[in-house]
């Protein structure tokens, strides 16, 4: 009976299954399977070639050792600072330029978007060079200002803040692009009406731009949070997680544990934790989508 109905479904839908098969098979093998594999691996301790089932010991280790906790804290700190900055300045920049002459708008967009397209590797290399305390431009500027030469890339207090700023400059273009596209679509009458009523730009922001671009804000929040969570290249090429693990992120630690310390159990557990954080974002995404749908009805 059961077989019969499956056969019937197949017969009715075979064309659609053929069309979706490449995507389904590829994501099953190269995404779903590794995610499950990662969860299984996280329950084993596979250091030194042996594979011992240890239950949740790897997780216990993560939540009891300072290095791991620090990496979680740093990753969350980056998400909690970079993402709001991107949203606030994305809105401010887009809202200040969107109603100007098109050439100016696209000029700004291009300048800010170039660092987004250029490989993070290249951007990191050049920042690494500019900020080098011995050979970089920063030495020249500190000398000009009559300051002591400072190693901004290994400062206990400030290096993480510096990374917030660098990540910000690497991603702001994406947000400005999205907000400008959205704001240009807002009806001209609405904006003109605000102006005629004597509304300042602040009023325009408060009552038109911010509320009407809310779906974009949600989108930027979710995608940028997901992107910031996996921060790796910048850390690998600028600070190597230092000084004293102050800039070690979850992704950087995952890489270190997996490919340099061959401590795959702990690395997998970090991956699972990151997956769970991503699932939070996914849930948030579905809630916001449902809300938009309900509003559309």
């Amino acid at each position: 009976m059961e077989v019969f109905s499956i056969n019937k479904t197949l017969k009715k839908n075979w064309q659609a299954y053929l069309f979706t098969a490449p995507f389904v098979v590829l994501s099953a093998v190269f995404m779903v399977y590794p995610i499950f594999g990662g969860f299984v691996n996280s329950l084993y301790n596979s250091k030194w070639g042996s594979n011992v089932f240890v239950g949740f010991a790897n997780y216990a280790k993560i939540f009891s050792k300072d290095i791991y906790l620090l990496s979680i804290r740093n990753s969350l700190f980056l998400v909690a600072t970079v993402v709001p900055l991107l949203i606030v300045f994305g809105l401010l920049i887009a809202g200040s330029i969107f109603d100007k002459v098109p050439a100016y708008v696209s000029g700004v967009r291009i300048c800010l978007y170039i660092p987004v397209i250029i490989s993070m590797v290249v951007m990191s290399i050049i920042w690494r060079f500019i900020l080098d305390s011995q050979t970089g431009l920063i030495r020249y500027f500190t000398m000009q200002l009559g300051l002591e030469s400072v190693d901004v890339l290994s400062n206990i207090k400030w290096t993480l803040i510096l990374l917030v700023f660098i990540l910000f400059t690497m991603n702001i273009g994406q947000c400005v692009l999205l907000y400008v596209a959205d704001m240009i679509g807002i009806s001209k009458e609405l904006i003109e009406a605000c102006r005629i009523d004597g509304g300042s730009r602040w009023h325009m922001f408060r009552y038109i731009l911010i509320p009407l671009t809310k779906p974009t804000t949600v989108f930027v929040f979710i995608t940028q949070a997901s992107a910031t969570l996996k921060t790796f290249i910048v850390i690998q090429l600028l600070t190597k997680g230092g000084p004293n693990f102050k800039t070690t992120t979850m992704m950087f630690l995952l890489y270190q544990e997996a490919f340099e310390n061959s401590n795959t159990g702990v690395a997998s557990a970090i991956g699972v934790l990151m997956f769970l954080i991503s699932l939070l974002l996914v849930t948030f995404r579905f809630i916001s989508l449902r809300r938009e749908e309900n509003k559309a009805k």
Binding site: Q15, F23, V101, I114, M120, V121, I126
Partner: protein
């Protein structure tokens, strides 16, 4: 609406924005002109804001001392190969999700939306083990195949096919054109703008996909791609030939800048198509 009747606050904020724009492209300027300086001039203080003298030495030595041609070839083949694959996989799945009725459609679409937010980095270790165990490490298969199922691509293509009215398919069906034939004969050509956006975004994504390429490369420098090649230059060395490193970095950055300027229109379209429709 133009600049002249903007308020004072507006003027100040736009002035700051222009400053920030200059600041944001300065590193790229510094990289490009650095690649035309002699290595000793690059680290000179006070710096030369324009190369003095100009030289092509760095570019010559990248090609002479490193297998840079292999890196370029690898990056080009991998990026375009993956992009073509992504388009085929995404267009067919996106078409089915938009224009066909089948059991499991809702689940599949939810899966696409959910997996948009699951970056590869999270499961990179088990994925790496998988690729090693099937013997793909270092091969083109290893570079390309794990990147073919791109949820964003499926999502983008579904959105594009959604804009094609169902009546066209109905009309074609009455004329005896099946769904599959419709896809190849009319669907793909109609989705050209979407496909263009997807190709460009995929090429950029894969060109810059450092971590996976780093893991998939073998110890043979000839198997590197451009981003892997540059990071391996002078790795763990005290003496760094910055000129050479800059030249290699320019080789990595320049092709994408050209693609960006040539196809700017597609960018805005593709990126906002992904966002605006939720």
């Amino acid at each position: 609406m133009r600049l002249k009747n903007a308020s004072k606050l507006d003027l100040i904020s736009n002035f700051l924005i222009v400053l920030f724009c200059l600041f944001s492209i300065f590193p790229i300027y510094w990289l490009f002109i650095g690649s035309f300086k002699f290595s000793t001039d690059i680290i000179k203080i006070p710096p030369d804001w324009i190369p003095n003298p100009w030289t092509l030495e760095n570019y010559k030595s990248v090609f002479a001392s490193q297998p840079a041609l292999n890196w370029i070839a690898n990056s080009v083949i991998i990026s375009f190969g993956t992009a073509v694959g992504i388009v085929l996989v995404s267009a067919s799945a996106g078409f089915a999700l938009s224009k066909m009725q089948f059991r499991g459609k809702k689940i599949l679409f939810s899966f696409v939306i959910a997996s948009l937010l699951i970056p590869m980095e999270i499961y990179i270790l088990p994925l790496y083990k998988l690729i090693v165990s099937i013997g793909w490490k270092g091969t083109l298969w290893g570079y390309i195949v794990p990147n073919l199922a791109l949820p964003f691509g499926v999502y983008l293509m579904k959105n594009f096919f959604d804009t094609i009215p169902d009546e066209i398919i109905e009309a074609a069906r009455i004329d005896g054109c099946g769904t599959t034939r419709f896809f190849f004969q009319f669907g793909l050509p109609l989705a050209k703008p979407g496909i263009g956006a997807l190709v460009i975004m995929s090429v950029i994504r894969i060109w810059n996909n450092y971590l996976w390429q780093l893991l998939n490369a073998t110890n043979d420098p000839k198997s590197y791609t451009l981003p892997v090649g540059i990071t391996k230059l002078f790795e763990n060395q005290v003496e760094i030939d910055y000129g050479l490193k800059f030249a290699a970095a320019v080789l990595t950055a320049l092709p994408l800048l050209i693609v960006f300027f040539a196809f700017q229109k597609y960018f805005t379209k593709g990126i906002s198509a992904g966002a605006v429709k939720g």
